[in-house]
Subunit: 352 residues, 2 copies
Amino acid sequence: MKTSHLASAIDRRTLVAGLAILPALSGAFLARSVRAQAAQGEPLPSWKDGRAKQAILDFVRATTDRASPKFVPVEDRIATFDQDGTLWVEHPIYTQVVYCLDRVPAAVAAQPELKEREPFKTVLSGNREEIAKLSLQDLEAILTATLSGMSVDDFETEVGKWLATAQHPRWNRPYTDLTYQPMLEVLNYLRDNEYKTYIVTGGGQDFVRVYAQRVYGIPPEQVVGTMGGTKFGYDKDGKPFLTKEPKLLLNDDHAGKPEGIHLMIGLRPYAAFGNSTGDQQMLEYTGAGDGARLMMLVLHDDAQREYTYGPAQGLPDTKVGTFPQPLFDEAEKNGWTVISMKKDWMRIFAFD
Amino acid sequence: MKTSHLASAIDRRTLVAGLAILPALSGAFLARSVRAQAAQGEPLPSWKDGRAKQAILDFVRATTDRASPKFVPVEDRIATFDQDGTLWVEHPIYTQVVYCLDRVPAAVAAQPELKEREPFKTVLSGNREEIAKLSLQDLEAILTATLSGMSVDDFETEVGKWLATAQHPRWNRPYTDLTYQPMLEVLNYLRDNEYKTYIVTGGGQDFVRVYAQRVYGIPPEQVVGTMGGTKFGYDKDGKPFLTKEPKLLLNDDHAGKPEGIHLMIGLRPYAAFGNSTGDQQMLEYTGAGDGARLMMLVLHDDAQREYTYGPAQGLPDTKVGTFPQPLFDEAEKNGWTVISMKKDWMRIFAFD
C-alpha cells in the first residue's frame, strides 16, 4: 500500500501533462462525463478499477442478489460512515473546531466574564501560534462554550450561516465542497441498493445534521455523532423549546462508535467506512457479524490532491485523523480493505 | 367526551346481540373484510366516522397534497407514537415490568447475593399482595437487575423467548396480540403517505425494539425509548460485543420525550399520539411547529372491551397511564383531538 512521494508526483505530472494537450476538457466537462457514466448504470465512476472498487461491487452483489447465500433483507441493510477524513477533509483541523474557534467572540459577547479567562483570551488575541498550542482541555472549554447554552433552533441557524461563508484555507472554498466525490458515489450506490447510509462521527451530532441532508443526502435521523443533552422548557410566551446543555451523553468515538450505533440504530452494520483509530471498534463490531461484511479504511496518501498522513507518511500518529501502523496492520489481519486515495480515486473532489 | 358506563354497556350488548343473529360472521371473517376494505383504498376501516377519524384524514390530506398550503416534504414527515396505552394495553401493569418481575429468578441465579435482599426476596416469595406494594425505588432496583449486565444479544434472545410464552391475565393471549387495531391502521395509513412512524416510549428502547418490527412494522432505528448505556468489550476469543450497563442516558418520558425525539430524530414531528401526562410535552412540542400538526390523545373509556381510566372514570390519576383532568382540559385548549376508544373504534383488537 505504501507508495513513494516521487511516484505520486509523477502520476500527478503525467495527468497534468495529459490534460494540457486537451484544453477543451474542463473540470465541468469531466464532472458531466462522470454523471453521464453513472446515469448509464456504471456505479462508482470516480473509482479506478482495483481491489477497493471490486470489494464494494462484490459486497453489494453478495448482499442484494436474492440467489446469493449472503443475501441481506432490505431492513437489515445498514452502512455506517465516519465523516472527518472519510467523507470530507479533516486537515489541518476539524471543521467543527474551526467553527467553535470562530464562535468564541459571540460566546464572549453573551458571557462577558469569559473575556479575561483562558483559553478564550488566547483565542480572542488571534495569535495563531498560541492558539495552535491550546491543550485538549482548553479545546473542550471552547467547545462547551460555543456548542451549548442556546436553543437547538438558534444553533442550527448559526451553523448554517457560518457554513455559507467560512472557507478552507487551502482551497478557498466552503468546507462543504471538500467532500470526497468517490465516497459520495459509494453513499449513492449503497442507497440505490436499498442500504440505509449513516454517518457515525466523533463530531457533534447536531453540527453535522445541519448540512448532512444537503451535502451527503443523509437525513438528520441518520446522523450518529457525539451527543449532548438538551433541556425542554418554555419561552416567555409559553412556547416550548429545547436548549443545548453542556452535558455529554455519549462520546461517539472509538468504543463510543459501536455504542452509538446500538443506541441510535439498534442493528449491526453490514458495511463500515473509516480512516483512523477512532473508527477501529466500529469496524471490528461490523466485522464480528456473520455473512458478508465490508470494512474499509481510507488511506491519506495523496499530498498533491489532498494530504499525506498516517502510515503513508510513516508517522505513528497525527493531530487529527490518526491512522497509525498498528491499525494498518490490523486491517491486513482482519481482511479490511484499504482505499488508497492516490491509487483508487480518479478524482478527490467534485470540483477537480 | 365523558360517557356513562351504562351507555357503554348498552352499545356492547347491542353489538353482541347483532352478531348473535349472524352466526357466520366469525372474528376471522371480520378481519378479512376489514383488510379487503383497506385494500380497496378505504383507510382506517376500524374507525367509526367522527371527529377523530376526520382529523387524521384531514391532516394527511393537508400535508401530502402538493397543492395544499400546508404541504410537507417527504423528508420532514415524522409521526411519533407513545406505546403503552396508545398502541397497546398498559393495564393492569406495563408489559415490560411484568417481564422484569418474571426475570427476577434468573437475575438471582446469576447474582445469588440478591436472594436474601429486598425487593428481590418479596418478588421471589410470589406473594402478589406484597409485590403490588413495592415502591418505585424497589421497582427501579428490579429493572436495573433484570435489564442490564448481559450482552445486548442475550437480552434480545431472552425478551423474544419471554414474549413467545407470556400471556396477559385478562385475555390469556400474548402481550403482542394486545395492540389496538385502529392504531395499527393509523401507522399503516401514515406510512402509506410516506410518513416515518416512530415509537416514543417511556419503556426501554432495547425492550421495545425486540418486537417493534414484527408487531408495528417499525424498525429498531425508529424506536425511541428510555435509553441505557452499553459498554463495548471483547469476549475471551477476542470477538467484540456490547454489554447493557446500569447507566441511564435518557428517561424518555415527560420532558424526556421531546429531548429523546431531538436526540434520535433531530426533527420536530408533524403528528404525535399519546394517552397520558407522560406524553404532554411531546404533544406540546409537536404543536409548537408551524403548518398542519396533528396531536391526539387516546381516552380509555371502554371498560367492556378494554379499560376505563383517566377522566373517563373521574380519577385524577392511576398507577399507570395517567390521564388526569388537567391534561384533558389542555387538550381542549390546544386543539388536540381526543380519541374515544368506545365511540371512535369499531373494534379494539385484531382478534375482536
